[in-house]
């Protein structure tokens, strides 16, 4: 549900940076542990981008896998959920990747004479 608000944020941030130029492509980075569903963003994007410079732009989503470091033994563990258990038995994990929610880059149309 919160993807609608998130997508509205994306449209407003990108519009600001595009400075009126037509946007061709947007690359997002969405961590697998960020509680954001890429499919929902895609769905909301078509609606939110209507009538803006983002309309018909290609939305690409880069999904970053979850990664944590065990606070007890220092082992790196990949995570599918925002919690887990290290082989050493500890559940004290420090998430180091997978919570990203970023606009990485945009591609705009520029007229060159």
């Amino acid at each position: 549900m919160h993807e609608l608000g998130i997508t509205q944020n994306i449209v407003s941030i990108v519009s600001e940076y595009a400075e009126g130029k037509k946007v061709q492509r947007i690359l997002l980075e969405v961590g697998k542990l960020s509680a954001i569903m890429p499919d929902s963003i895609q769905f909301c994007f078509d609606i939110c981008s209507q009538g803006t410079v983002l309309e018909k732009a290609k939305l690409e989503i880069l999904e970053t896998p979850g990664l944590a470091v065990c606070c007890q033994c220092g082992t790196e563990i990949t995570l599918e959920k925002p919690f887990g258990k290290c082989n050493c038995g500890s559940t004290q994990l420090n998430l180091i990747a997978g919570e990203e929610l970023k606009i990485k880059e945009i591609e705009v149309e520029e007229l060159c004479v």
Partner: protein
């Protein structure tokens, strides 16, 4: 006429003297040598391809695609306002709590009970978040404390801007406690920092004990978990030990209280923690 060199389109011809056959050479078909005699008598020989100029886009304006690297956090705006709110609370020595749960877990009941019981010790005011109605604000108002209601309409959570506006209306006193009752939802509120010092997850025993692992984002983000309605434990199939075990899996550092707002069981621990919170500021 050729636009590159200005040579005439009259193609050179080879005439076979014996047969009289004439062969025309189309010099524009491929890269070839030309010889021009200029008006002053200079003879220039050069080569170029005539094919390239046939592409009209090359002589017109061209549309380029420029990639701009942003690396912009999508929630940056919310986080910035949340940071402002946090500073606002700190400057007034206000302890702000963000209470989150599914609808019907007993947030408002626990809140009215807490306000009534601590009325003489702590100055508590409330920001109520619901999609619609001012029913909860009216319930809180009966306790005599200051309250504002935020109706999010279609929104499924409170955000930092709503809280900022709510605080302007609420105008809480110095050295007090602000309870922010989020919209009943175990998913979205986890993502939005409001500027509170403490996030509190509330779970009632009429729900499943596996809620902490079913909705790990919210329980992981919370500092405190309150299990409510424990007076109903004899009547429901809720394993408290299992629930705590699940909660610890998701968040090993979480502080856990078990309370009943009806029988008052367990409330003292919760109150003691609140009193300490306002003295220590940082919990």
């Amino acid at each position: 006429m050729c636009v590159t060199c200005g040579c005439a389109d009259d193609n050179p011809k080879i005439t076979h003297p014996q047969t009289g056959e004439i062969v025309t050479i189309n010099s524009h078909d491929r890269e070839s040598h030309h010889t021009h005699s200029l008006p002053d008598g200079t003879v220039v020989t050069h080569s170029h391809s005539h094919d390239t100029v046939n592409n009209e886009s090359e002589i017109h304006a061209k549309i380029h695609h420029t990639t701009i690297s942003l690396e912009q956090d999508i929630l940056a705006k919310n986080n910035l306002i949340a940071a402002k709110n946090r500073g606002w609370f700190k400057g007034r020595n206000i302890l702000a709590l963000n209470l989150m749960s599914s609808p019907g877990a007993g947030k408002t009941t626990l809140l009215t009970r807490t306000i009534d019981d601590l009325k003489n010790e702590l100055n508590i005011s409330v920001i109520e978040g619901d999609q619609e109605t001012i029913n909860d604000a009216k319930k809180i108002e009966k306790t005599g404390c200051k309250v504002v209601q935020i109706n999010t309409g279609t929104g499924c959570h409170l955000d930092a801007l709503m809280v900022e506006k709510g605080l302007q209306q609420l105008n809480p006193s110095l050295d007090s406690v602000v309870m922010i009752e989020n919209v009943g939802n175990l998913v979205c509120p986890a993502l939005f920092d409001l500027g509170e010092q403490v996030k509190v997850a509330i779970l009632s025993v009429t729900e499943g004990e596996d809620k902490p692992i079913k909705y790990p984002h919210l329980f992981r983000a919370s500092d405190v978990m309150i299990i409510t309605k424990i007076d109903l434990l004899p009547y429901v199939d809720f394993d408290v030990e299992k629930c705590i075990e699940y909660a610890r899996q998701v968040n090993p550092d979480m502080r856990i209280f078990q309370v009943s707002a009806i029988t008052q069981e367990g409330l003292d621990d919760w109150y003691e923690w609140l009193r300490m919170g306002i003295i220590n500021e940082e919990i």
